[in-house]
């Protein structure tokens, strides 16, 4: 049954299939809303360097804490920087860091999980113990340790986030591999004398891909949450990088007076996280995977 599905897959145009999944996702209002929010943010992030009206790091004492106006749509912050400029560029920072971070998490988590599920035995036991141990350190403490260990540049943050959020994917990939490993087509591939590498590439990955991708989409939103929390605490990207967490933390002290400089990044970050969540949910449903009873580990 499964092996039939795979051969069918190969004949079908990949783009066509992706388009079909997108159509299923957009057929429900929550999925449509999620997709449009994410699309909006992605487009804005791509265009932001060209449409930003001001320099994001230009400090000016003459324009400190101005209320929203025609010149400064979202007002200015305590250093006289344009909040609109920093907000749209902040989305670029958040999306770049978390997108590449998720990619790294997917790659190492997925491959290690598949490997463990396939070989089993002692190696599997040891790896899973270590993964469990990492899971039991609260994410914030682990991230803070990594960041204080290696510094807070984007070059460090992306692999650090990728490493840290990949450990949950190891579990999912391993469980999904366990589900397919006993199936006939794997046994017959073994009997045909295929190598482990060939079995992983041709038989297992096509069958566990959906589960891993759904998990990765979910992790993307958690990573965004983790990344912005780090910035908020002062352990993320360093100023003057335009970043939502950093902007909220800087503007918080003055929000009784200049609430606009805290509202703009809050709306940006909240909408992106909700958008990614709705999209990931719709993606899971379109692929027929139920995540509703899982804990957010």
């Amino acid at each position: 049954m499964e092996s039939n599905l795979i051969t069918e897959d190969k004949h079908k145009n990949k783009l066509e299939k992706a388009f079909e999944i997108l159509k299923t996702m957009a057929s429900k209002p929550s999925g449509l809303i999620g997709l449009s929010i994410v699309l909006f943010h992605v487009v804005l992030a791509l265009l932001s360097p060209y449409i930003a009206p001001y320099d994001y790091k230009a400090i000016s004492p003459n324009t400190m804490l101005l209320a929203p106006s025609a010149e400064h749509w979202f007002g200015t912050d305590s250093l006289g920087r344009d909040v609109f400029t920093r907000t749209i560029l902040g989305g670029r920072t958040a999306l770049t860091v978390t997108f590449f971070g998720s990619l790294i998490a997917l790659l190492w988590g997925g491959l290690l999980g598949i490997f463990c599920g396939l070989v089993g035995g002692k190696i599997d036991d040891v790896v899973m113990r270590v993964v469990d141990a990492f899971l039991s350190i609260p994410w914030i403490l682990a991230m803070l340790l990594i960041v204080s260990l290696l510094g807070t540049s984007t070059e460090v943050l992306i692999p650090a986030l990728g490493f840290f959020y990949g450990k949950g994917i190891v579990r999912v990939a391993r469980a999904a591999t366990h589900d397919v490993i006993a199936k006939d087509f794997i046994v017959s591939a073994r009997a045909r004398g295929h190598s482990n590498m060939s079995i992983i590439w041709n038989e297992i990955i096509p069958n566990v891909r959906d589960a891993i991708l759904v998990e990765g989409a979910m992790r993307w939103s958690w990573m965004l949450l983790g990344f912005s929390s780090l910035s908020f605490l002062g352990f993320g990207v360093s100023p003057p990088t335009p970043d939502w967490g950093l902007m909220i933390s800087n503007a918080r002290g003055l929000m009784s007076f200049a609430y606009w400089s805290v509202i703009a990044p809050i709306v940006g970050l909240s909408s992106l996280i909700i958008g990614i969540n709705l999209t990931a949910d719709a993606f899971a449903k379109a692929l027929g995977i139920d995540r509703s009873t899982k804990a957010p580990v």
Partner: protein
């Protein structure tokens, strides 16, 4: 049965051991050791040598690990560098404060989550479900520091009902704490409730679709009797584990919330000790937080075991 319980406890201990190794190695490879951090610019010559001797940094790392680990097992975490006092004294009031915050949030959050979860499941896809589910999605996905900041902005600044930040010393009395923790508790329980309500909802929906519930309906069991006698016990049981995992996961959120509200708990200590490079405290915190996580999961596993005879012969979690 007993063997299974012992096995789970054993696995928990192994996990804690690995956590201690990871944090020890992590702290070990941090640039600069305790002495260079502590002495700052005077870290050279005789002063440095004396400090290294005093803190025992001249012995090999594995010996120090064994030494440290055996003290931790006896409940002694050593000395804090910045405060120059025993870590146990630093931790004591912080643990108490965080415990108050967490338990009040849990006491409010769990019953509320169960009620909301049941309502949304029974009125699935109707108006109450749509309304509550939309709110839960919002409060679940928005980062803690944003909901906390918004709470301060709206309740404390615009409405002026409550103080925005907590200004109490870390050794405040229980009553002093209670009047100050309303906003932090709302911020934490909002997220917790949302997560758990969603799980209760899907669990109840699953059970409602099961054969024995259909059977009960066909037999003519009154609706509410069926809900309370047949559905809820079966639906809430699998939720225990997930709820435990969620509580443990939210430890990170508690850290952020404590920072936003300036609340003198364990969470703020995490940030303070990492900023100050107070490595012994960081190690102690890692072990304590990991123990809480392992402990909560262990209790949940055991509860599920006790309450569900069917699981006794099975592996609990895959």
């Amino acid at each position: 049965m007993l063997l299974l319980i012992l096995k789970r406890i054993g696995l928990g201990l192994i996990t804690l051991f690995i956590v201690s190794l990871i944090t020890f190695v992590g702290v070990e490879v941090l640039p600069g050791d305790a002495c260079t951090t502590y002495l700052e610019r005077e870290a050279y010559g005789a002063a440095l040598d004396a400090c290294i001797k005093r803190l025992g940094l001249d012995v090999p790392a594995y010996e120090r690990y064994l030494d440290w680990a055996s003290n931790v097992v006896r409940g002694d975490f050593g000395y804090s560098l910045s405060g120059e006092m025993p870590i146990n004294e630093v931790l004591g009031p912080r643990v108490k404060n965080s415990l108050v915050l967490a338990s009040v949030s849990i006491l409010i959050g769990i019953p509320l989550a169960i009620v909301l979860g049941i309502i949304t499941a029974l009125w699935r896809d109707k108006l109450p479900d749509i309304m509550i589910s939309t709110i839960t999605i919002f409060s679940m996905t928005i980062p803690e520091f944003i909901s906390a900041t918004l709470l301060i902005l709206i309740v404390a600044i615009w409405l002026g009902w409550l103080p925005g930040i907590v200004i109490i010393p870390s050794d405040a009395t229980f009553y002093e704490l209670l009047s100050n923790i309303i906003l932090p508790v709302v911020a934490i329980s909002m997220i917790m409730t949302a997560h758990m309500a969603r799980m209760v909802r899907s669990s109840v929906i699953q059970v409602m679709a099961s054969d024995y519930v259909q059977m009960a309906i066909l037999k003519g069991v009154p609706y509410w009797k069926m809900v309370f006698r047949h559905v809820l016990p079966n639906a809430l049981l699998p939720a225990i584990n997930v709820v435990a995992l969620t509580i443990a996961w939210l430890l990170g959120g508690v850290v952020v919330t404590e920072v936003v509200f300036n609340y003198p708990g364990l969470g703020r200590l995490v940030i303070e000790s990492i900023s100050n490079r107070d490595l012994p405290v960081v190690q102690a915190l890692a072990i304590i937080l990991a123990s809480i996580y392992v402990g909560i999961n262990l209790i949940a596993d055991l509860m599920t075991l006790m309450l569900n005879p069917r699981l006794k012969s099975l592996q609990i979690r895959k």
